[in-house]
Symmetry: C2
Subunit: 315 residues, 2 copies
Amino acid sequence: MGKQATISHLPLGSSAQLDLRHFRYFIAVAEELHFGRAARRLHMAQPPLSQQIKWLEEELGVRLLDRNTHYVRLTEAGAVFLKEARRVAANAERAVRLTRQVGEGTAGRLVVGFVSQFDGGIVSMVKSALEREYPELELQFTPMDTLELVEAVRTARVRAGICGVPMDEEDFTIERLARAPLVVAMPEGHALGEREAIRLSDLGSVPLVLFPRTANPWIYGMLRERFAAAGVVPRVVQESLSPFSIEGFVAAGTGLSILPAWVCSHRRGVMYRPLKESELPVEVALFYLRGNDSPVLRRLREQLMAAISECTVRG
Amino acid sequence: MGKQATISHLPLGSSAQLDLRHFRYFIAVAEELHFGRAARRLHMAQPPLSQQIKWLEEELGVRLLDRNTHYVRLTEAGAVFLKEARRVAANAERAVRLTRQVGEGTAGRLVVGFVSQFDGGIVSMVKSALEREYPELELQFTPMDTLELVEAVRTARVRAGICGVPMDEEDFTIERLARAPLVVAMPEGHALGEREAIRLSDLGSVPLVLFPRTANPWIYGMLRERFAAAGVVPRVVQESLSPFSIEGFVAAGTGLSILPAWVCSHRRGVMYRPLKESELPVEVALFYLRGNDSPVLRRLREQLMAAISECTVRG
DNA sequence: TAAAAATACTCCATAGGTATTTTAT
DNA sequence: ATAAAATACCTATGGAGTATTTTTA
């Protein structure tokens, strides 16, 4: 009953194993219907080919080829085996191709969350560009709001998220995609338009239309801190989650707003001035659970950055 | 430029080829997530398994397993390769199984012609019995009349045919399935019913209801010859292709008939007496082009004979 | 430090080579 | 008679073995 220390050369029944080689060889012979030509096509000599086919027939217990010196024909079983062998060979190739593609991020499925309010169309652009170039790639972008997104990434409901940082999360990998200056939006003809750039301290008594805390708590918090540092209590008269809606309020004279440059629509009736506090970074990032990196993610990140720089150049 | 006389040892780039072995090994490791256990499951030592996996990863150019001494995990590419590898392995097994089954006649597709007028249900019985037992087997029985059937077998429109013999065809293989005596059908109470058996010479002046020549030219011809040999000119008053219809005429008193025993319905109003000329063989056979034999055909023949003897015993 | 994967090396089974024989039209 | 598959025999690649080292949680 003692456990055998080593395995050591057990004499197996039929020794050799069926291998892809046998499928490849059989396909060649069945297609050429000539051992010599098939051997040439396989870059090998005829005798070992004959032997392998013979071995295959013995292994299957079925004659696959009806042959003599003057013809080679498929038997019924041979025809079936040819069909199946082609399937096996094709599947094997597909396995290799797909796996390599996943390795270089051009195949696979990826679910990413994004905050659709702040997306100006880049997400759809990236999705269609990638899926057009790599048909084996499937991207799913799920719209969510910022806090929901962070939770979804943490619980792996989505593999990654795209939203504004700074983010104070411990176990996320955060890959910065773009940095945008904050600008002050004001109705055309507003007095502050005279200045080249605006300071937070200039906004002390001005009515403001801002994103609510939930839109992005970190940016919200950072802005509040900077207001406090400038010795100003901001007067928020209206909140809205939608940049477009906010610009509506600005144009209507409800108040001024502070927006990341990339969401500005440049609509009539609104003008923009840079915010002097240029050290206020508002960045967009791709983030995911530490260790959850993958070639597909890297491919997505590249494409996102390319698309963003494209927009920046054109815009 | 001269053609190389021998192939001889060209040093290939990456020497070894991808083989089913690699798929099998990877599946084992991916399922166990432990090289040692996987090796045990594969009845081999751990080091060569590690080597083969390493070779596979190098061949694919992708890391499939994220591993160290304390864990083994699938990478994204590894998960994809596992799925594909399982498909390949399953297809390979299926190829072997299906081919073996074709070899023993329990898989494949077979188109057979039969003369439905003379089929008492045996064909459907055999079809359903075989297809129930062997799900990979597909039988198609095509109804045709006798001459059409012979032509269809000759031109390979169908692989085989079932009909009555003798048949004077040169290049058919003809496998007798059953022999049935000819019986004389007469209306109940007919004078000839007094006799134990009927001679053709008894039928000289009797009105007859017979199959037309087209139903089966060989049996028709043989019967004519025997009538002639008996010095009788048969008086055919009605012809019909359907045994059931013929028995209708017999019951109605139109005439007597000569039928193979197996098509007798034993309906009320008709009685049967054996034909004395017992050396008149009417046989049913399976026939096909010489050389077109196959395990499936043999399986069909066995099943047909079993079904026929079953019917004979019960009837 | 202990368990597991990786490395180092050895060996023989077998795929594949060449030369030759058999076979079927 | 000839072309092609089968057989005989040989070689050497590489898959799989054992022993050992490296690694990391």
